[in-house]
Point group: D2
Chain length 368, copies 4
């Protein structure tokens, strides 16, 4: 119905398919006066784009955005902002071999069940290609929260297969996510260099095996003031949950101690309030920065599990639209592990939620 | 801003506090002609209400609903439905001892940070008391999906502390959730009788220890046709995630293999499509009933982790509004484990999402 | 679908029928800290209620509201506010004579066409009785805009039949609307005493004639700062238009010179900007306080035409649900002219729009 | 906040300025399977575009749309549709002379008051240029309602200055709106040829006089089934009112007898129900096709008054941003009368509302 919009006060609406002319985003509600340029957008679009390293898809897209509206003389005007990212790598090929096949793990079957028709070229609207529009919107959201309250959102990989990294969300830096100690690109986006190196090996082994592998990304939002989020349905954790679950391949989301809370007692889990100067905070942060669904002023820490890529170059059984049996092997150019490119998508979605709730909060509670 | 509404086509709006006059829900968009009575509402309100067993809070509320609008001659009219559940057990006591204290794990501090004021009686709007309005709306949603597509939503407890039950979501029944094999009430709502008995012991031991304990509830929705949910932000999993995260004390949500996917390979995780008669389905259901965020026709299986109750009768350190140190021990009448009463709340939220998406789906795709 | 809600940041949701238990409103998004009492609500509920004078319906309703949620210690908390106004005058009578009849000018036929069923008692949800919930919400909106920017909304009758009053929207007072110069109630709410007296006579003559009569109400909003409203669809005039058109019996809305603009030239119609001290304003106010759909700081002046009451005690031809011909004469207790009781409804709707847009404006443009 | 979206089930979101790169629209919620091509879009874009006759602005825009998303193999897919119309006639000129001036009747002052900044080139977002995006969306809506229920929306000019045409909304045709009896273009879009000829003369005289002139457009929607629209706030008339008021320069909207109802008695105004075959309808259509805010099955007839163009080539007094006095004469290329190009805009907005309400109606009432 209206499933292609997200947010209330900072409202993001997208359109676009994998192999159509391009992806578009309209951002409504952004305050006036925010500096915004194509260069700003490129920072995260480049982190998201395919072909950036040997462990991601080799599809080539320059992902150059065009700002169509809402920016004048380098600043947002307060009216709706539109950004277009054209698709370039639309190899002219014959899709008839997959047009009638349901790829396991993909949305081919469910799209057909829903609409009776689908753009089968590369997954159409169900392709992760659509996240390019979200990442563009996320850049605006990041700039907004940086200016509004010095907020920062970072996402990084903490698990691939059995490899689990140790990362401190309070201190991790963008630089540690993007670069190894020697200055070379950290292509996994796991800021634990030793584990990152193992992950590279694992991902390459998996790809060689014509297979794929899952993992977990963590997101931390720092500098978020206490008071964002609303009671009942509008809880910050509910909107953050929806934000991350709306990303392709996400099968689970948790914050703070997350699923670990099942085994805990209240006396172990509660964080004690303490006073530091004129600020009330908690001594520990098992609550992940939200209490009653409202931010507490402590870092917000979330994790999302991302399934192994469904496209495999090995042969899989499936059925055709007409119900007959078939086998399928997806040819080339898919990510053997989605996690490295997932980080900027997760950052974008979390930043959008924070921008939205901050504007909502200003509107209601700074009124008089 | 508008955080007290949920859903688009089946839209639920609530108001109410723990110790105010009552809780109200307005349901907008329900189709006309659905049978609805106070008795219908009582089924789930009774499952949610306090005082129903020895392992839940002993607070007494009859939770008798009044249908104020939208029902005529026993059926919904298609106009907005309003239901009021009055609060009864408003013990007249002095709250001045807690009015200025921030209870650890509760929303006292974050409400103050947000609004500068709060109804401190029993948590006010942040109390789980507000879920009484959701459960009433959930009854309507359940009736809608039952009539529309024979849909059924069940929730049950699968873990408390270290005790983990084995339950088959494809075959579990409401009766197994509510009753033990001997016909007596299954007060944990864990449909694995042996584990349920252990859970009762654990919860009682925890309470005796002036402590509380966390756990995990599972929710299964059966009979859901393929095609519900929308691409991009409107994914069914995103709205289900928001629905469960909007409930108090939920720290994590997963579906299908969930966080287990981190360790899996694509070849292990993908479910193979098969044809049975004229229906396309998957041989296994690791995908938890949703692909690309759209229902696949397989059972939808979700899990939510619920933290241990924050209120403890043992003493905890904290601070006052003015920042001075204090200790707090919550007197009486809280649940030592939230899980048993969580099940009907989870069912309600999942049913509301399914009702909403089914109406949205009809509107868009059955148009011509 | 979700037609029973109005507004974005100040969001009003209602339910209730003419002869059901009562009417309910939930107001979401109101800032915390606003004083609100039953007495505040009664001011406008009394102006709206039936039976207040000899020229309105003699149906008796005390219209005593109950605040169910969202107010604590006399002030709003920032969470959703719920108010219930019970119906009292539900004369126990037999409706079978009208259950199958389509009253001319009423919504009986269209409700049946839409829903296949309707609550036929007194019009059910289509009765103007539902405006009691709007007026309650309007009181909150009025208090909000008064505190936020000293805003004031007044509505009054400027035409009944051929009788046209001269009223200056810049200077008219609530007192002049409610009281005649001698202090007695101004039962028409036309603040031109001579014309008001003629209107009383006309309305009484019309009633005697078993007929009804239409008219025009004007609404002025003063003190509204420049800058409320948004480009494109969110224009202030669009939301004000929807607000007034959503009221029963309204067939037209205009602002500023309104339909008179059809005969004007640009050089006659444009208002010249002038500077007074450090304020930019216009010398004249033909633009009715909005330019480009955004408030200009000048008084906002709107007019709505209200059709003659459809219920007539004289006999009218019609058909039954089954298509057979019939005649109908509505027995007793309807307003011969809707205008006197329309004024508080119009004020409520305009105040709600201004409260909504003011919160939206704060949220977006006072961000940094 | 989120003012650049319109509709619930058929949701239109726009962005774009007069002199930026282009205007974009995203349409969300359109059913799958609707044929849509650039040629379809051009029909109405050409009717809206500048430079089409001697009585409209001579600005040149080819207004060629590009479909960026949501259409595959010539049909809508059910996912969001994006259309881009680039701006071409961006004469490179110096705007410094008007950047600091407030043009009388325009939104320059109110945009500055709201945002503190504005794109002053040609009015930026406040320019009627933005309606190009609406007209594109309107084409989709028209196709939807034509296929769904054979619905048709036509708008035409019924008044310019003192010249009033007689047009029968039940029988008027697109051909009569677009062509004179001799086959030549009917450049006023008034389907009364004699009055149309007078209007051409009047508009030319007004232009020669460096002035502009107002008028009234009528819109008729035929074939609309009974049952569209919702009680309370979601009335069809409320959404139609908002739709027309959201268009630039509209100062008033009425339907049916409109403002004429002020002088009428109920016995004159009520339309009698009659039975024709198995259809219930009204003998007359003073109610303009809506009763209780829900469509009755009779033609929906609305009128909107459009003010004289604010831009005048004669000199007008005004002030600058800094408050100093100034004079302004708008150079060239504005419409001396907005009505001829207003017709397609009005059709688009009315069609969008009907498409939206029809989808909403299906969703709720065709559920079971």
């Amino acid at each position: 119905m209206a499933g292609n919009s997200f947010g209330q006060a900072f409202r993001v609406t997208t359109a676009g398919e994998s192999h159509g002319p391009g992806n578009v985003v309209i951002v409504d509600g952004c305050p006036p006066g925010l500096e915004l340029s194509v260069e700003d957008l490129l920072v995260d679009l480049d982190r998201r784009k395919p072909g950036q390293s040997k462990i991601v898809t080799q599809r080539k897209e320059s992902d150059t955005p065009e700002i169509l509206a809402g920016v004048f003389e380098g600043r947002t005007t307060g009216t709706s902002i539109a950004i277009l990212v054209r698709n370039e790598d639309q190899r002219s090929r014959d899709y008839s071999d997959i047009a009638d096949l349901y790829r396991p793990g993909h949305a081919d079957f469910t799209f057909d069940a829903k609409y009776g028709v689908r753009d089968y070229r590369g997954g159409g609207r169900s392709s992760a290609r659509e996240t390019v529009a979200r990442v563009a919107a996320g850049v605006i959201a990041k700039k907004l929260i940086a200016r509004a309250f010095g907020g920062e959102v970072l996402s990084y990989v903490v698990q691939v297969g059995d490899l689990v990294a140790q990362v401190d969300p309070d201190t991790v830096t963008l630089d540690a996510i993007e670069r190894l100690p020697d200055g070379s690109p950290n292509i996994t986006r796991c800021p634990d260099p030793a584990v990152s190196a193992q992950m590279v090996e694992l991902i390459q082994a998996v790809r060689k095996d014509q297979d794929s592998i899952g993992g977990v990304a963590e997101v931390v939002a720092r500098g978020v003031p206490a008071g964002l989020g609303e009671p009942a349905f509008g809880k910050l954790k509910a909107d953050l949950g929806a934000a991350l679950f709306s990303l392709p391949a996400v099968l689970g989301v948790e914050y703070g101690v997350g699923f670990g809370a099942a085994r805990m007692r209240g006396s172990e889990n509660n964080d004690t309030f303490v006073r530091e100067g004129d600020v009330t905070r908690t001594r520990t942060n098992r609550h992940g920065g939200m209490l009653g669904g409202i931010s507490s002023g402590m870092p917000i820490v979330l994790r999302a599990v991302v399934k192994p890529t469904s496209s495999l170059s090995r042969e899989q059984e499936t059925v055709r639209r007409d119900g007959t049996s078939a086998t399928i092997a997806t040819r080339g150019r898919h990510d053997p592990c989605l996690l490295p490119r997932f980080a900027p998508m997760a950052e974008a979605m979390v930043a959008i939620v924070l921008a939205d709730h901050w504007l909502r909060h200003q509107g209601q509670t700074r009124a008089f």
